[in-house]
Amino acid sequence: MLEVKGLRKVYRSGSGDVEALRDLTFHVDTGDLVCLVGPSGCGKTTLLRCLAGLLDPTAGTVRIDGHEVAGPPPGLAMVFQEYGRSLFPWMSVRDNVELPLKQKRIPRTRRLELVGEALDAVGLAGTESSYPWQLSGGMQQRVAIARAVAYEPTTLLMDEPFAAVDAQTRADLEDLVRSLWQRLRVTILFVTHDIDEAVYLGQRVVMLSSSPTVVQDELVVDLPAARDQLHTRADSRFTALRTHVYEQIQAAKRGRPATTV
């Protein structure tokens, strides 16, 4: 369970304060997959950094599984957009996935088990001793997902994870996230700027306004749980939901221009 209440973030600097997040309140139920969309530059990254405990909010609270976030919470894993910079290039794929587990003091045999299972789950068995930079972009992001999965988090934050991969790889990775979510029953907050992706992946979609950010709208995606790229995207319900989200994002762009306080 992820609860965000009255979250506000103001960046203070010499040339005036910039209000990135104004007032955000939303929640993600345990085991739910919620997508967050917003116009570009709406402070999504700021929000995620606040949720992950990497950035202190100016006001408001973030609770994960009932505990208020102050510093990176133990049950939380994160997948970053810049896979190339998020994986450690001096470590093999195995070491990249294993390192956070070592930090959690998980015994060696269990660690190797988790690493093996996670790499298997993302379809990367056999690449253990490669370096990340020897893999394609899509495969690198799979390693990052494996690292998150092996960590056995209760909550998984994904920051536009597929923004930098090509369209076909992207479709594969979307299906991978859906199937992992259904299997592992983790709580996922998936941030994206792609409206189709948000509707395709999410059980709910939370739409954000442009900066300073508030929640523009929320929407329950009442599509069947079993989704596939071909039929779901052609579904008339899918297009209706997609149109709704699109209109809201357009309204958000027009409605509130970025201001400096």
Partner: protein, 255 residues
């Protein structure tokens, strides 16, 4: 492969032959024929002499260099990670760095005498700066996403330094170590020229003072060969340790 080898060996070979031919029949006492120098080389650098003079030099070099590396990297990490420390220390470090180390030999002699300690201190003091300053820069340049990733996954404290900060800074640190190696060799010789009872620098000065000119030249050649061998060793070690970095850069160039 053969072509590469030919390029690498070509110029040294030409210089050697030129020196040999041009100096042949030289009457100048101070620039004897290379033939004589080579003969002196074989006569002078016997195993006993190597043990008595070259080994002590190399041991002092190794001690000074290793000490400088440990202190330089440790201090560099501390300074690189701490903004306040950096602001306080940076001007002082720049000042110390600007002092040519040979100038300090007489000063250090006053404190540390003329034994091995003095020579090691001179080497440390001279070659620590490139290591220290490169480490600071390397540590500061840790990628922000990598730093966020480490924090988000609870990789903090010693593990963060050992598994993230140091490897990430290692290409920079290696560059510092490479610069430091040549400085260390220079200081090894200079410290022995001031005051010593053995060592390469001492021996070369002894030869010069006793007008054993071919022997003096042979010592200089030996020094050159040693420096060359050490930098070759360093490059091999560096290439092994930073294989990931070369591969990463290669991959980035391709994309």
């Amino acid at each position: 492969m053969i072509k590469k080898l030919a390029y690498a060996v070509g110029l040294p070979l030409i210089l050697f032959v030129l020196w040999f031919v041009l100096s042949n029949g030289s009457e100048n006492f101070y620039a004897p024929p290379l033939k004589d120098i080579l003969r002196a080389f074989a006569d002078t650098w016997t195993p006993e002499r190597l043990r008595a003079d070259v080994v002590p030099s190399l041991l002092r070099l190794a001690a000074g260099y290793a000490l400088a590396a440990v202190i330089g990297i440790a201090l560099g990490v501390a300074i690189g990670l701490n903004r306040r420390l950096r602001a306080t220390l940076e001007p002082v470090l720049e000042f110390f760095r600007a002092i040519p180390p040979p100038v300090l030999v007489p000063v250090i002699m006053l404190f540390a005498g003329i034994g091995n300690g003095m020579k090691v201190i001179v080497i440390v003091f001279g070659c620590i700066w490139p290591i220290l300053l490169n480490t600071v820069e390397g540590v500061r340049a840790v990628d922000s996403v990598q730093a966020d990733t480490a924090r988000a996954y609870g990789i903090t404290g010693p593990a963060r330094i050992a598994r993230v900060v140091l490897p990430s800074a290692s290409p920079q640190i290696a560059a510092g170590l490479r610069q430091a190696l040549s400085i260390a060799i220079i200081l090894m010789v200079i410290s022995e020229m001031f005051a010593a009872s053995n060592g390469l620098g001492f021996t070369i000065v002894q030869f010069q003072r006793s007008f054993a000119i071919p022997e003096m030249w042979s010592g200089i050649i030996l020094l050159g060969l040693l420096g060359f061998a050490l930098s070759l060793l360093f490059r091999l070690a560096e290439r092994r340790a930073l294989r990931w970095y070369d591969g990463l850069r290669e991959a980035q160039r391709r994309s």
